[in-house]
Amino acid sequence: MLVYFVFVLGIGFALKRYMKTSKDFFLSGRSLPAWITGLAFISANLGAQEVIGMGASGAKYGIATSHFYWIGAIPAMVFVGVFMMPFYYGSRARSVPEYLKLRFDEKTRGFNAISFATMTVFSSGISLYAMGLLLGVLLGWNFTFAITIAAAIVLVYIFLGGLTSAIYNEVLQFFLIVFGFAPLVLLGLKDAGGWSGLVTRLNGVAIGQGYQAGAWSSSWHFMSSPSNNPMGVEWFGLAMGLGFVLSFGYWCTDFLVVQRAMAAKSMSAARRTPLIAAIPKMFFPILVILPGMIAIALTYQAGSSGFALPRKLDGTFNYDLAIPMMLGHYFPSGLLGVGLTALLASFMSGMAGNVTAFNTVWTYDIYQSYIRRGASDQHYLWMGRMATIFGIGISVAAAYVATRFNNIMDMLQLVFAFVNAPLFATFLLGMFWKRATGHGAFVGLLSGTAAAALHHGLTLPHGAVVGIKGGWFGVMHVYPSEMAQNFWTAIFAWTTCFVVTIAVSLLTRPRAESELTGLVYSLTTRPKEDELAWYKRPAFLGAIVVGAALVLNFVFW
């Protein structure tokens, strides 16, 4: 672990001398090759919510959790690479909110910038909180001590090396996570008797929890009705809510990930970034979901090593501990150090991703636009460093606040649903319909977010109490699970935003087409790909990735 810390900080120091302008600091001078930005693209997302949350969901819902990847992330990543990146990268916008300003107007950007900045700081806080809690359980570290150390390290390497430092460290963290978790999966699978042994045991889990055999080991078979699968969702809500609205909203519009692609050295490298990222992403369920499934399987029918999932005080399983407890159970000292470092790396990469996105949006879209215009580049570089410090400061504070939900994933999905779900409708219309106007986008976004809040306030997941889980306007509809509620909240928000944006746009004056060149699909010349080798072309890569994801869906049907 010490070796890792030394390297993380060393990269920060080594890159310090390259950080001369704000563009170096916030955009890595647009100079990185596609494989680096691609790995950083997934690593930035590979934070606490991914490792702990996906492991927890793997135990709680079984292989259906892979929907977050195979119908969620992958198609969205292909879409952003093939269709949307030309506008992000080609417009020379430095951030996603800035694209909104170029395409629509100032108020749309302001709304997005502020809500996004708030959200990143909040997510970064959740990352910290989860890590503090975990280190307490595993190593007996004091909560405050653990989050201070992690926050300090992230602070130092971003402060020194900016986005490049964050991206380089994310690549390092990516490999560390792969190498730290792969032996866990191998040992766990061996203990459970291989894949066939695991499936047999999971049948026991399914029957034990009142479902048909196979509910944990097939991803689509039981999606016809919410009562047949442990997620409590049906195929339409899943495909539209998760597969379309939430995933596209996250992967296509969240500056946290898009920023990585914007740092690429050329248009084609930027477009290949999410596509290259999609390939390892496809196989991440093996690393993060499978351990959770193994954990629940061994709990119901112990393997030779006697692993069992810990329970909370009220007797329900503590799903969030699935992966950490497995690490502690199987790894001897030595490898355990690597495993814990990998876990720590995942928290720090998630946090660093949020912090770099935050300092860029803060500096370019809030500070430079509303607080102090026209200052020198050196001043903005300095501001970026200050933003790093106070962004991390607020995250630490948020970490102390975030202590209520039992499944971190559900909470994050809730936040995404309110803010991100309507956003994708705005981008879709903005990029592909030249008639969409600034007023339309702004009103659409506001009403989409309001629709999300309203829907959440009028419904309740089955068995929950009125309060933070919904129903605060009175309960009109009860969903079979919290996840189903979240998916439908997203669907309502997206639809509202889509319809309202079109309606208002048609009532307001359109912008001159000459102003929209490079920002809208029909008014932009297609990027030339002739000089690229065929295997480097985005469309080809995209088709391969989508095809492979389809195959995975069928294999685990």
Partner: protein, 74 residues
């Protein structure tokens, strides 16, 4: 950018792999009971070592090629 990321990655995995490998050989063998009686430190140390050395090799090659190009341009 001036720093090839493969070099630090390679170096780190080489060091970690070497540490695990040595620990797997000289360390107490009874700790592997929990890992289904497999000496995971030894084996995973080798895997990480190989990966680290490969990264170092690729990184070195790229850096050297880059330097040669720069020389020719001069």
């Amino acid at each position: 950018m001036g720093l090839d990321i493969r070099l630090p990655i390679g170096l780190m995995f080489t060091i970690l792999g070497l540490l695990l490998f040595v620990f797997g050989i000289v360390g107490d063998k009874s700790i592997y009971q929990r890992a289904l009686d497999i000496n995971v430190n030894l084996w995973w140390g080798i895997v990480m070592l190989v990966f680290g050395l490969a990264m170092l090799w690729f990184g070195r090659r790229a850096t050297r090629a880059g330097r040669d190009n720069a020389d020719q341009e001069r």
